[in-house]
């Protein structure tokens, strides 16, 4: 009893709302539109948003430390265009993937180091990072480069059929690259819950001074968090090139906002210290379902943006109100817990 109760502390309220919201939206779509209710609609949320989810998981690490990373969209785009460029030059696909992932890590480490050692604002540093990477995209190629590599193609086109019944609605397909997302998700879950580094990430977001005085390695934790964010963005970029089979430097403009929105809608506090990667994935699924509904309704796609912004606003304000309440409660305290 005690254990189940603890699961629903204040922090998880927004996640709970999100899950309920997702179910409601899915139900709404199913009732309103023909062919909406199917496993395939559900699985497509992953097929279409895997790259966003991967990048979102990465940025969640940074958000939990209390930072922000808005460079990820450019990193995704750069990874895409640079891998396409390298493949075009005949570099083997595994080497290409390795190279772009390492570049991702380097970008993250550099940003994290600037932020930590020189106490610069994460927002400014990663905004500069965003410009830098976006600029480099165009330096590599101004035009879209198609990808013809067989490995990339096999990743892009192969899928696993999933059947839950004989009805048409009960079957769907998952592309191979979605399993990368699942792997990232599981590893992140484990890291955040069961490793020292993961717990340090939370401690850092709770109170950086305390974390330092408790003897935690703040520098390494913070820089690693930014490195993970950029690494995931690069990995997201690889998945994105599987998805599109092309690299184009102007792709994914503003995607960092989608990733941040996913995290926030999934219950991550932008003030740091609270957040889960599962929440981020669900946040991205909500965005996906809004997109799907907007498509079914044949609305202007910009409605998606506006709806997401409204949701984002709602969640941020709700979080804030909860926090204000908590602050007020604090005055009373629980000093009587002393026996």
């Amino acid at each position: 009893m005690e254990k189940t109760k603890k699961k629903f502390q204040i922090n998880n309220i927004s996640l709970l709302i999100t899950v309920v919201l997702f179910v409601l939206m899915f139900a709404f779509g199913s009732v309103k539109y023909d062919n909406f209710f199917s496993i395939s609609t559900f699985l497509n949320l992953f097929n279409d948003n895997a790259y966003l989810m991967i990048a979102g998981i990465g940025v969640t690490f940074v958000l939990i430390t209390g930072g922000i990373d808005i460079s990820i969209s450019s990193t995704v785009a750069f990874t895409g265009v640079f891998s396409a460029y390298l493949l075009q030059k005949g570099v083997p696909s595994f080497a290409v993937i390795l190279i772009v992932l390492v570049i991702g890590i380097i970008v993250g480490v550099a940003q994290g180091a600037l932020i930590h050692y020189f106490n610069m604002q994460p927002f400014i540093v990663t905004l500069a990072g965003q410009f830098l990477m976006r600029g480099l995209c165009v330096v590599v190629s101004e035009a879209s480069i198609p990808i013809t590599d067989p490995f990339f193609k096999s990743m892009a086109l192969n899928k696993v059929a999933i059947k839950l019944g004989s009805a048409k609605a009960a079957s769907g397909k998952l592309y191979y690259y979605v399993f990368i997302l699942l792997a990232v998700l599981l590893i992140s879950l484990y890291v955040l819950k069961y490793t020292k580094f993961g717990r340090n990430v939370y401690a850092l977001g709770g109170n950086e001074t305390s974390a330092k005085l408790m003897g935690l390695n703040v520098a390494r934790t913070k820089i690693c968090a930014y490195a993970i964010s950029s690494f995931c963005a690069a990995l997201g970029g690889v998945v994105f090139s599987f998805y599109t089979l092309a690299g184009y430097g102007l792709q994914n403009m503003g995607m960092e906002l989608d990733a941040l929105s996913s995290a926030v809608i999934g219950g991550t506090l932008l003030t740091g210290g609270v957040g889960t990667v599962v929440g981020t994935v669900i946040g991205a699924m909500i965005q996906g379902i809004i997109q799907t509904i907007v498509t079914y309704q044949n609305l202007n796609t910009w409605w998606t943006k506006v709806t997401i912004a409204a949701l984002l606003c709602f969640f941020i304000v709700v979080q804030r109100i909860i926090a204000i309440r908590a602050e007020k409660m604090k005055g009373k305290g629980e000093s009587d817990s002393y026996k």
Partner: protein, 508 residues
């Protein structure tokens, strides 16, 4: 090595910040096994710098530190912890978003052979550990569910559980109640018995004489001496700490108080009638008269600062009403209060008082400027005149009014804040811990200024946790406990004993 029992030996430690500030000048400190050793000194003595050096927050410029005969040079708190030096700071340094158990074990989580954190063990161990501290709480709940006092005990539990040989307690008692302090002392004594060396910093001399074995005194970054607690009379200790003739300063202040006796008892200026504020004070009835210094006594969290905050319009009046010169008033913000002639030097000088990057002059005119409104700009000339006037009047030590306030010492900063409020020509002045962290000379000066102001007809509300100071300044005193008014003392009734009795729970 003469002393087998010696645990920590620091010799000839020096540390300076920049060129100008020498925080530690060739000091020493010894700590034996099974000893509680008080480190005392006024502000700026270098206590906190020594602690920073020992715990790896700062690196020493020169000197040696031996722990168990081995030289150490910790470069981070982590280093220091690994060497066996654990620290509990004045402000709780834990993470509010983590569970109690995790706060105790973070950084040294028990893990299985694959490196996976063993949560079951963490929770069980934490519960076990806290039981030893008589703390029976749900360790899986987040830390911010608990009061500051409990959090402080958790911090101490964490420090003790780290396989520490040396435990540094840097003013851990400031947020604890008397009962909790007793509990802490019990724990300290037990740890002493177990052979731990404890470096204890506190501002309360009573506590020094209650638990410590030896005392080391620093003054102005220099080493004064180390003494057996039992052999050092209080008066001598104080004399060593302040390093100057305390008696004369004391006398002038007492004289001030005598003078004030005649002036007291003017007409009522401000009044709280049955005021409650949500989450803080309950049912307060306070009257402040012109020309008197009214003291608010009570422990931290008893509602002292909260009362001032309500009077200043920071916190809202929930129930009851506030009257100014017999007329009902309602302050929505500090500005309303300032416009009604109220001034407030808040407790936390650094975060609520000074504007660090502005000049002394700008800091002084700020409140007057907001009182006048944004569009009635105080001319440069007037600002200069005001600043120079108060620099002279309050003897603020600075080359000129164009200096940034953050470069001043604590005492001078406090004087600037006082100047800021005097410039608004207030009728009612509230001072919340105006002398905290200020050297004893400036302290006496400030006390005298307060008494003089009352003599000139100002109503003053004085809040301080130092009873001595309250005795010297106040004619009338309201005692608070747990957000309630529990007693009032006047004139001759005021004594240390009487106050303590009421604070501790014996109703008047």
């Amino acid at each position: 090595m003469a002393n087998d029992n010696q645990l920590l030996k620091a010799r000839n430690i020096s540390k300076s910040f920049g060129k100008a500030v020498i925080a530690l000048d060739n000091v020493q400190f010894d700590l034996n096994r099974g000893e509680i050793h008080a480190l005392l000194g006024e502000n700026g003595a270098g206590k906190s710098t020594l602690i920073k050096v020992l715990t790896g927050v700062e690196e020493r410029d020169s000197g040696t530190v031996f722990l168990n005969g081995k030289e150490i040079r910790p470069k981070s708190t982590q280093d220091a912890q690994n060497e066996g030096i654990a620290t509990v700071y004045q402000e709780v340094n834990l993470c509010p978003n983590l569970s109690v158990a995790e706060n105790i074990y973070i950084g040294r989580e028990p893990r299985n052979k694959f490196g996976k954190i063993d949560w079951k063990k963490i929770n069980a161990d934490a519960e076990e550990l806290l039981k030893r501290f008589d703390l029976h709480i749900n360790v899986t709940k987040n830390l911010d569910n608990y009061s500051v006092a409990v959090q402080q005990m958790i911090a101490i539990a964490r420090a003790c559980d780290i396989d520490a040989k040396v435990l540094i307690l840097d003013e851990p008692t400031s947020s604890l109640s008397t009962v909790e302090v007793e509990k802490l002392f019990g724990i300290m004594r037990r740890l002493r018995k177990e052979g731990m060396g404890i470096l204890f910093v506190t501002h309360f001399l009573d506590q020094v004489y209650e638990v410590t074995d030896r005392i080391t005194v620093y003054r102005n970054g220099g080493y004064v001496g180390t003494y057996q607690t039992a052999e050092l009379p209080r008066v001598e200790l104080v004399a060593k700490m302040i390093g100057k003739d305390y008696a004369s300063l004391n006398e002038s202040v007492v004289a001030g108080q005598l003078g004030e006796e005649k002036a007291a008892g003017g007409e009522e200026l401000i009044e709280l009638c049955g005021v409650s504020s949500p989450g803080t004070i309950q049912d307060f009835n306070v009257k402040v008269r012109k020309g008197e210094v009214l003291g608010l006594s009570g422990l931290l969290g008893s509602g002292r600062s909260e009362t001032a905050r309500v009077l200043f319009g920071v916190d809202s009046v929930g129930k009851g009403e506030m009257k100014l010169k017999k007329e009902k008033v309602h302050f929505k913000s500090p500005l309303d209060a300032i416009r009604s002639g109220i001034a407030f030097c808040p407790e936390n000088r650094k975060t609520e008082g000074i504007i660090g990057d502005l000049t002394i002059r700008e800091n002084i005119v700020l409140a007057l400027q907001s009182k006048r409104g944004m569009f009635q700009k105080i001319s440069k000339k007037e600002a200069e005149r005001l600043a120079d006037e108060y620099i002279e009047k309050l003897e603020i030590k600075t080359p000129d009014a164009g200096q940034l306030i953050k470069n001043l010492s604590g005492g001078n900063q406090q004087k600037v804040i006082l100047a800021r409020w005097l410039a608004t020509d207030p009728e009612f002045l509230m001072l919340d811990e105006p002398t905290r962290g200020i050297d004893i000379g400036t302290k006496a000066e400030l006390q005298k200024i307060v008494i003089d102001l009352a003599k000139q007809g100002m109503a003053v509300l004085f809040i301080s946790s130092e009873i001595d100071e309250m005795l010297r300044c106040c004619k009338r005193m309201i005692v608070l406990r747990d957000m309630r008014q529990v007693g009032e003392l006047k004139g001759k009734e005021i004594s240390e004993e009487a106050i303590m009795n009421i604070m501790a729970g014996g109703e008047k």
